[in-house]
Structure formats: C-alpha cells, structure tokens
C-alpha cells in the first residue's frame, strides 16, 4: 500500500501538527524546511533540508521520499511565508520571497509529484488562507499569493481528476508564531487580540490541530468524492460581517 505523505514546512506551526496527525493516522511522513532537522521531530519522520521554491529541491524531495517510503500517496503543501507590507511598501525582494515560496513552491511540488500521481492515483492538499478571499491589511503579497493557491487547487482538480484529488484548506487565525507576528503589527497588540477574538463565533482562536483534523479527513477514504474545494476552518470568523455589531 502506498502510504507516503510529504508535508512541506513541517518544522513548526500548522505543518508540525499535520506531521504529527498523519503519523498517528498511519502515514509514512517526510517533511522539509530550509533549516536543519528540528529538535523534537519524531524519529519516524524523515527530514529533508529543502527549499520548495527551488525546482531542483522539489525534485530532490520527491526522490528522497520515494527512496524512503515508495510511491507518494499524499502531498500537503503547507510551507509558506508572509511579508507584512502594503503594495506601496513592498520591494522586489518581498515579491520574490512571497511568490517564490507560496506560489512557485506549491507549483514546484505539484509539478514534481503529479506525473506519478496521474498514473497511479494521489491526493494533494494545499494550505491556502482566508486571506486569499478577504484581505488582511498590510499583507498584500501574502493575500494575493493565497488566492493563487486556491486557483491552482481548482485547476489541478479539474485537469488531473479522477486519478488525483486536490483540495485546499483556508485557515483563519491559527495561533502560530506567524499569527503572533501579525498581531505584533497592531498599535495595541492586546486590544487587537481581544478585538479579533470577539469576531470569532466559536469564541477562541484556532489551534494547529484544528487544521490537522481536516487534513486527516481529506487524506482519508472518507473524502473520495471531495475535489476542487477550498474549505475554510476559521471558527466562523469570515461568516460574520467585518462590522460585527457585537464589537461595539
């Protein structure tokens, strides 16, 4: 049985929760990041130092996963970066960083994995964002890059079904280091956090495990009819108007 899952960006945050969940679901897990193997990563997980924005690294990651565990059944494109700037403030370096990792990285990984998946079947789960639907302020390139992920998700589902399923998850505010950096942007981070919390119908911010729960379902035989979708898991935040009167 093909049981190998690749999770990009699995050193921390959502990626790490996905790694842990897929491992406990019985997958053979390979994960990667730009740095050295993170301390505390379970021994069963194969770590590859790789930068998904580099075409050669993406191919190398697939080869190493094949060598370790055989054919790849599941690809979770989680690796992402954010630059907290408006368009007016963004430089060429910002563009290159965000687009290379968030867009070209997902493209690179899908392109490297698809030939084998198209022949033998496979499953791709991309991590998009609610920010690809509705804009977070001062996150222009990040917001745009996540809209790219949603569009690519639909294209892969349409072009490579029925052998390949492809879906995206759009997390809302998940308490990771990346989200904490976002709050740090506010003039009054404490007040910003209280304000953001008041906009969540379920009354809390998300945890990386909330996203891993849906990855697990989308990776399972429970979701064989699900393809081309972008599912939001945000505690109800984007179901509410931005002018939610409960705030005032």
């Amino acid at each position: 049985m093909d049981n190998c899952a690749i999770v990009t960006g699995g050193s921390r945050g959502i990626g790490r929760a996905v790694v842990d969940r897929l491992l406990s679901d019985g997958f053979d897990v390979v994960t990667c990041g730009r740095g050295a193997r993170p301390v505390g990563l379970p021994d069963a997980v194969v770590w590859v130092t790789a930068d998904v924005s580099k075409t050669g690294d993406a191919a190398m990651l697939i080869e190493k996963a094949n060598a370790a565990f055989g054919r790849i059944a599941l690809l979770v494109n989680n690796a992402g970066v954010q630059v907290e700037k408006t368009v007016a403030d963004s430089g060429d370096d910002d563009w290159d960083l965000v687009m290379n990792v968030n867009c070209k990285g997902v493209f690179n990984m899908c392109r490297a994995a698809l030939p084998d998946m198209a022949a033998h079947g496979g499953n791709i789960i991309n991590i998009g964002s609610i920010s690809g639907m509705v804009a977070d302020p001062s996150m222009a390139l990040y917001n745009a890059s996540k809209a790219f992920v949603h569009g690519l998700t639909r294209s892969i589902a349409v072009d490579h079904g029925p052998k390949v399923r492809c879906n995206a998850i759009r997390p809302g505010w998940i308490m990771t280091e990346m989200a904490e950096d976002g709050f740090a942007l506010a003039g009054d981070p404490q007040r910003a956090m209280a304000d953001a919390l008041a906009r969540h119908p379920v009354g809390r911010f998300g945890q990386p495990e909330d996203i891993a729960n849906l990855v697990s379902w989308l990776a399972s035989d429970q979701s064989t009819y699900v393809s081309g979708e972008c599912f939001t898991v945000d505690g109800g935040m984007t179901a509410a108007s931005p002018l939610n009167p409960g705030l005032f």
């Binding site: 639909r154 079904g161 909330d210 009819y225 939001t232 939610n244």
Partner: protein, 264 residues
Amino acid sequence: MKLQGKTALVTGGRGGIGRAIVARFLREGATVYAADLTPQGSLAEHDDDGSRFVAMNVADEAAVKAAMQQVDAEDGKLDILVNAAGIEIEKTIEDTSLEEWNQSFAVNVTGTFLTSKHALPLMRKAAAGGASASLINFGSYDGFIADPGLAAYCATKGAVHALTRAMACDHGPEGIRVNAICPGYIDTPMLQSFFTGDGSGGGGQSIDQLQQAVRDVHPMRTYGTPEDIANLVNWLASDEARYASGQLWVLDGGLSAQVQQMKL
C-alpha cells in the same frame, strides 16, 4: 465511534441522503431520531434501521415542537441537528405557481428555521457539557450557481446559506457550531426525479445517456452517493470539527471548480 453518547435528530431522515446520515450516526454510536413525513420517506421501502422514527412535517410548527418535546423527555439534550428535509420544484419562475413557490420555501427555508429554532434550547443544554453542539443545514451548489429550470429551489438554497452564516454568528457564543453542506449531483430519488422530470431538458437523449453526460462533466467522472455526504456530515458533527463554523461546504466531485461546459 466518533459520536458515542451524542443525541442527533435528522430531518428528512428517511429520504435518500437522510437515510445514509442516520445509518452513519448509528454506526458511530449516537442515539438517532429520524424525522420524516412517513416511515418510508421518499423511498419505496422502509427498513428498520435502529433509529427512533418521528412523524414530523418540518413546516408545521406544532409538529416540530412536539418532536423536540419528545427528544427532551427521552434524552434531555440534542448534540446534533441535521436539517436534511427538502423538496425540489423543477420549473422556471414563469411556470412556478405561487403555491409551489410557497411550498418550496415552507419546507426548505421555513422548515430549517422552525426545526433550528425549537432545537436550540436542547442544543444549548448539550453544549453546556463543554463539547460544542453541531447544527448542519442542507444548502446546495445550486445556491451558488444555477441549474436550469430549478428557480425556486436555487432561491431556497441561497436563503439557507445566508441563514447558516447568521445562525453561526448568533449561536457560536453559546457553543453551537452551524455549517451547511452544499451537495452537487448525488444519486438520490430527487436526482432521478430530476433526470426523468420536466427539468432535465433531455433533448431526446435516453436517461442513461443523460446520466453518463452528467458524470463525464465532473472532474471525478461520477456523481456522489448519499454516503459521500454522510462522511462529511459525520465529520462536522464530531468533535474533530470543533473549530469549523459558519461555512458552506461544497461537496460536488469538483463540478463547480470548473467553468461550466454542460450540454444537457
């Protein structure tokens, strides 16, 4: 057994999709009430599936109240409500009578409203235990993009989508999650009725040719089964989905991910 100890009520519980949800909830360990007009629902036969049958027209407030009183008396709480009862009038608005229009809204929208309204006190009791209660409405991909000759149906499903978001905002703070599932083509009596009825626009094709044409336009090259829907209902009903609320979950084999090129 993801739903051990939970109590669920499924409207349209003896219909095509409803039966699959009831069967799945029972397998997951829940106590399940199947509410429908008759024990047979929209299918010809009735199997004793182990659920508690409740005769209930979702558009009849007295019947809905009586059903909730029964749940209260027997279980004292309701963890999961699935509003799966629905009807489909296969006509353009010009051909739709006011009576048919009102009937569509009575079942699909007012039924969702009434059942939810009278279930909420019981769902609050369930949520008081700490785990969230889960309310799952049935929208449709037709609430986003239209199929021809289904005007009233499309309009009711759009209303259900908006109601889902509104309820998620209002009742999230009480520990109640509200989501809608938006199926595409699912093999049910309602779909077969669509193929054979006036709404198909069959153009002289046989029913089999028509069905194959519909399958072929799906990226997954098939349409879905009631069990495919029950798989997602089960996840949304479970504690795994504890952060999922206010969303419209399209489940259509990728149909609406593509630009439509259907020639039916």
